[in-house]
Symmetry: C2
Subunit: 380 residues, 2 copies
Amino acid sequence: MKFTCSQHTLSKALNTVSKAVSAKTTIPVLKGILIKATEDGTLILSASDLELSIEKEIDVNVESGGSIVVFAKLFSDIIRKLPNEEILIEEKANCTLLIKTSSSEFTIVGADPEEFPDIEDLEDDSNLISFNKEVFKNMIAKTSFSASIDESKGIIVGVLLEVNENGVSMVALDGFRMAIAREEMASEESGESMKIVIPAKILNEVSKIISESISESEEEDGTISIAINEKKAIILIDSTKVVVRLLEGEFIKYRDIIPSDSSTTLQVGRTALQSGIERASLLAKEGKNNLIKLTIDGNLITITSKSEEGNVKEEIIMEKTGHDLEIGFNSKYVLDVLKAVDDDEIKMEFNTSTTPCLVKPLEGRSFEYLILPVRITSTY
Amino acid sequence: MKFTCSQHTLSKALNTVSKAVSAKTTIPVLKGILIKATEDGTLILSASDLELSIEKEIDVNVESGGSIVVFAKLFSDIIRKLPNEEILIEEKANCTLLIKTSSSEFTIVGADPEEFPDIEDLEDDSNLISFNKEVFKNMIAKTSFSASIDESKGIIVGVLLEVNENGVSMVALDGFRMAIAREEMASEESGESMKIVIPAKILNEVSKIISESISESEEEDGTISIAINEKKAIILIDSTKVVVRLLEGEFIKYRDIIPSDSSTTLQVGRTALQSGIERASLLAKEGKNNLIKLTIDGNLITITSKSEEGNVKEEIIMEKTGHDLEIGFNSKYVLDVLKAVDDDEIKMEFNTSTTPCLVKPLEGRSFEYLILPVRITSTY
């Protein structure tokens, strides 16, 4: 194997595939990146931690084809620190690799490419569904934070991605809150459907790759495509292929949890509410459940909290229909929602002080958040 | 005590004095900030960890004077998170403090100001020496990183600040390297002299306060002043007074260590050398001493390093007078020096492979760095 390529292009590609390298793996070859040069002038970089595999193709000048596995961290560090000029990379005897520029010469130890796991290829008859990059990325940002981070909780560490005749939706929940994001489908093809659950932390890596591809691409309305291959999803993002192991089993029947009506509805400024809750949280660290109390009375939300260090009262003006109410929350869950939303104004729907609060946009149903209240004692 | 003040001004002042609050102190009152409002419209904020004390004055609208100690972290967090508007602060019964804006109302628990340690005042006959802010800050940046970080090493955890008829100098050393920065004095007053040793980590905090004062001030050539009061230095930085406990004892006779001549002198581009050493260091992690070898031959410096993961060779063009030489270094010590210097080109002076290397500017003596070599074995 012998090829030359631009430092900048190779360094960016390594940054992308490195997201699939596990630092903690006990399988030595998985600390590596497989680099494969083909005679037609393509370099294929691959990494996998078995849950997530990433393969990226870049154009290089190949003198002779071949492949080798290199330690991901060392190889990426070397390439990143080289000046932005043409790099010569050549396989030498005993599985070593020469990396050469005008003033630098590295020889690093590689590993046998035979040991590297195969990464799924798209099958010829695969049914690809396309999504707008920005839309897909925003839906991840609106939902993935609500998934459980407790690996023992099974399927709820994942985000449900559902495509049907109504459009596309993502859903995540952890037992204390639930997030739903919905969009019309970008494409008009009918009959497309999909229902898969992707681990939230892997979906966040996919989101980063999409962000990188958006910033690199000149196209305004780029798309990604997803195909399902048995228990894996193959996600195509420009020249990057991401293979994700799906979570198996039935997702929670989340539609049953959403309350169908409410006795109190507020319309409130999002940033004012967020600032007020952030300040009130300063005195809500006690006992780790970040308890704040919302008193909904007339056209004011009064947020109160107290600890041994003092107490706080914040007032926010809003519009209300329905009853007055007192309700307690873990401030973190409310803040997570307010930070995930862009809208200037939001709608909050309540029933009683022990039933969940629903957060929605003023119009439409592009997002819905359900937040469980915390019971407040009479002495609070 | 009752006063109103701008959120922005108070928050910045708290940020400054908080640098003297120790998170680890066992004396509860030292987790606090003393706030004292005087009838003439001044708010004095003070904090101290006994090693370092900071006192800052700001203008506020005082309705009634008084003083209280507040928990530094909570009070700073509250003020920082309030909107930039006028804040009312009022002492209430039982040592509590009310903090009020148009929509927020905090009541926090304070502590008795009587328990707070006194902070030295400048004496009437104090001899103040002035330094240009930028110059003083740059001298700290050029030297303090070379001081020992091992608290058991005594005086070498400090930076020597010396003022005499030749100007001002700062010196720091840790047994492996030494840094010297020298400047002409800004003021022309004759007969000024000073020789003190300030703990490096405290000098770094002083540097941050100077940076803040530079960014806040419209003055181009601002100065700070230092007076010595027994075992303390009192440093005046605009409206901030910093009191520092000095290190006692005799500083190392550093002038004796500087070699007076050299058998090899190089002139080399600083950033090229830095990049080359940074890359070579990628393979120099073995055994924690970051060993790199410099081979000085003709008009080339060849930097080599190796580990189990591979080996590297970097070539840098330079101008040389004197003998060729092979010498080993801990790359960290060389990189620290190259990062601290701004000059495009530097001079490096060597004698043998077991004697220190001296790094200097091409002209003048505004800095001198001495770096001890690492012995390289014949098999390297």
